[in-house]
Structures are given as C-alpha cells and as structure tokens.
C-alpha cells in the first residue's frame, strides 16, 4: 500500500487532518496528482480528498463571480454566467484536455498544480482574479499573480487549502478572448494568450494581456498593455509582449518559436477581444 486515503466532510476536518498527517497531499479531481503518483514522481503517505466538501464546489455569480476551488472544469464551463460574463475563461476551459479530464479535473486543481501552461490562469489573470485560502480556521486572500510562484510552486503553505477563486465582474463594454496553440488538441499549450479590451469609440480605456507556457508562471504582459493602441493593429503590443516573456525550449517547441507565436497570439487575442467588446470591428 503506497498511501492511505481520507475523505473529510468539512474544511475544518480537512485542515485538522493536514496538520496531523505526515506527508499528506490534498486531492480533488486527481487528473494531475494521480498521473504523477503513477509515474512515481510523487510519493505521498496520505491523500486527503476534498471532494465531499460541498461548499468547495459551488459557483456563486450574484455580484462578483466566486468559483469554488473544487468546481469541476465541466461544471464551470457549463455555467451560463461564466460563459456570458467571463468568455475568455470559458474558452480556456473548452480547450483544456478532454471531456473525461474536464469531468474530473477542477479549476482549483489547475491553479494549485501551477503548471506554466495552466490554461485557466491567463484569463483569470486578465480578469484580475484573486484567490481565497484557508489556513487552519483563518482565511487569507491573494491576487492570483502573487499565488503563482513558479513551475509547480504556489504561495500555499503546508496544510493550506485553496477555497475559491473570486473574479470581479468585468465592466460593461469589456470584450475578452483566449487562444492557445498546441501540437494536437489534447496536449498542453505551446503558448496561450488571454486579452481583454474596453474601448470608447475606438480609443482604449483598459487593456489587459496575459500569456501561458512562455515563462516560469502564466503572467500578465504589462509592457504590452502599456503600448497597446487599437489604431496600430496591435502590433506594438505584440512586439512588447515578445520582449516580456522568458520562453524555454522543450519537447513541445523551441524558445524562438514560442516567442514568435506569442506575438501572433497577442495580436489575435486583442483583435478578438476588441471585436467582442462590440465597440470595434475587425475589418475597419
């Protein structure tokens, strides 16, 4: 027997178990963790399942959109408010893995796993999401950008539980979009970009860009945001984006290709986001 398995019914119980059990890991969908255990890359003594904790799976869209960390990728994708108010997030979910993976995997698991290519991260960064973390009986909040620290590394301390992702409602007139390129449909992204644009009669009011799989963490591309102007076909933003990433060469693509691709994806994502804002047309 490699590990024992625990199914607490509440967050308090889960926190207490994590404090008491040595070498314990939380598990939600298991689509990252079970693979790594199977490959021998991780050898926990105890798995603490969060799947029975009902409050982790609720999605509340009354004012801000609060997505429980344990909501499955499928349920998040199917939620009408997320499709309507956070379309770039919905697009990233539709591109993630397969149906089977989306039926098991969760949005919290995607962020806690902290892959540089985590597909939900660029849209959530663009939407200025923050995360709610349970530490024993206390709750703390962090901007998502401060939560993702490096490949496989988050701001979670031992025993802390990611409880929810909170997304402010984008202001009226905001358009947003996500695109990614991978070798085949079901593979991690070579590069991914999310963008949001709010325009006022063709002049920009607010522009946000974030990229995945081209730096140690998914990151906001503030340099691209600063120079982005709709009047120049977004090419200045694309050039700035290429300079603000730190791509690596791996089995999926070379660093040079990732840099090239990021520029193109930034331009396309901004074009799509501007079109979605309803304030601008693609073929001006």
């Amino acid at each position: 027997m490699r590990y024992s398995y625990h199914r607490p019914a509440s967050l308090d119980e889960a926190s207490d178990m994590a404090a008491a059990l040595p070498n314990a890991r939380f598990i939600q969908g298991g689509t990252d963790l079970m693979v790594r255990i199977g490959q021998g890359r991780e050898r926990p003594g105890h798995l603490i399942s969060l799947r029975r904790i009902g409050e982790l799976t609720t999605i509340d869209a009354n004012r801000e959109i609060r997505i429980g960390a344990g909501a499955t990728l499928s349920d998040t994708l199917a939620h009408p408010d997320i499709r309507r108010r956070l379309p770039a997030l919905a697009q990233s979910l539709a591109a993630l893995g397969s149906r089977q993976v989306r039926n098991m995997g969760t949005i919290g698991g995607n962020l806690c796993n902290a892959s540089p290519a985590a597909d939900t991260a660029p849209p959530l960064l663009v939407y200025d999401a923050r995360v709610e973390i349970r530490n024993g009986r206390a709750i703390r909040c962090l901007p998502l950008a401060e939560f993702l620290l490096g490949p496989g590394k988050t701001a979670l301390q031992a025993g802390e539980i990611l409880v929810a992702i909170v997304v402010p409602d984008p202001p009226e007139g905001t358009g947003s979009a996500f695109i990614r390129r991978g070798r085949v449909t079901m593979d991690l992204a070579i590069a991914s970009v999310a963008a949001s644009v709010r325009l006022n009669g063709g002049a920009s009011i607010a522009i946000r860009v974030a990229a995945g799989a081209v730096a140690p963490t998914p990151r906001r591309l503030t340099a691209a945001e600063a120079v982005a102007t709709p009047t120049d076909d977004w090419s200045r933003a694309a050039i700035a984006a290429r300079e603000q990433i730190e791509p690596i060469t791996d089995l999926r693509a070379s660093a040079e290709y990732r840099r090239h691709l990021t520029g193109i994806l930034v331009r396309r994502a901004l074009t799509m986001a501007a079109a979605a804002s309803g304030q601008w047309s693609i073929d001006r």
Partner: protein, 160 residues
C-alpha cells in the same frame, strides 16, 4: 487499511472493500473481474478505460477507488444486459465498422453513450470534439464518427 464502498454497478448494488491506493479501473478489472474496461496508458491520455460515473464519462485509471462510494457506475458490461442483445451504440459501431482490433472500442462506446445523452443530434465536428480523449490506432476515426451518427439517427428513427 481497506475502505468499504457501496455503489451501483450497471444497475446492481455492490458492496466491496478497496485498498486506498487502487483506482476504479483496478476495482472493475481485478476485484469485480469485469475486464471489458481496458487499460491503455494509465495517464488519462488514451480513453480506453472510460466509464460513466453519475452520467459523466471519466478516466477510470485516474479515479481513486475510494471515491466510488455512493455513485452509479455504467461500464461496457452494463450496456448489453438485455438478453445479450447489443445496445444501440454498440450495434451502430458494428454496422458502421467503427471497430477493428477493438481495444479502444469499450472506451469509445462509453464516451459516445454519455455524449449522446447530452447531445442526441450532434454535428460531426461535435462528435470529433467529444472524442478528443479517446485514441484509436486502427480505424482513422472516420467510421467511429459515422457509427455515432448512425446511433444518433436510429434513436430518432429506429429503421435508419
């Protein structure tokens, strides 16, 4: 430490004890002896192990066995229970040559069953999207898409 689980397997109540570090795939094949569900990659990539839990297709190779407690599971063995007659989707795979070596077939069929329950009149592109998580080394997928279309047509018109 073994963990007692109670669940419904293909319409029958089951009570067994599972080791904590086993998957649903191990439980089905090794404990229950139901070997229709296949093991390909054990990494969530190939879909040969697909079964339907509470109406949703999942990779049983990544599904911790203790989590099966309280669920309803449908596997390939549960489809043709009607005196050995094949289910609509199985028959369509046969008629449209959607199966060659057959190793991917149980997973393909279970994905199709869950998908058609959600989308009874799909477009080909939607079927292809639904099959993202199921690999086939033999057919080239064209006949599999046709088989699923055939099953969908027959559910509307049994003579099709």
């Amino acid at each position: 430490m073994r963990i007692p689980v109670r669940f419904e397997l293909n319409g029958h109540a089951v009570e067994v004890e599972v080791a904590p570090d086993r998957t649903l795939l191990d439980l089905l094949r090794d404990t229950m002896g139901e070997t229709g569900t296949k093991e390909g990659c054990r990494e969530g990539e190939c879909g040969a192990c697909t079964v339907v839990v509470d109406g949703r297709a999942v990779n049983s190779c990544l599904f911790p066995a203790p989590e099966i407690d309280g669920t309803r599971v449908l596997t390939i063995e549960g489809l043709s229970c009607d005196h050995g007659r094949l289910s609509r989707v199985q028959q369509a795979f046969l008629d449209a040559s959607g199966t060659q070596c057959g190793f991917c077939t149980p997973g393909m069929v279970m994905t199709a069953v869950a998908f058609l329950a959600e989308n009874p009149a799909p477009m080909d592109t939607e079927i292809r999207e639904a099959l993202t998580g199921n690999l086939c080394r033999c057919t080239g997928y064209v006949q599999i898409v046709e088989a699923i279309q055939l099953a969908a047509r027959r559910s509307r018109d049994p003579q099709a």
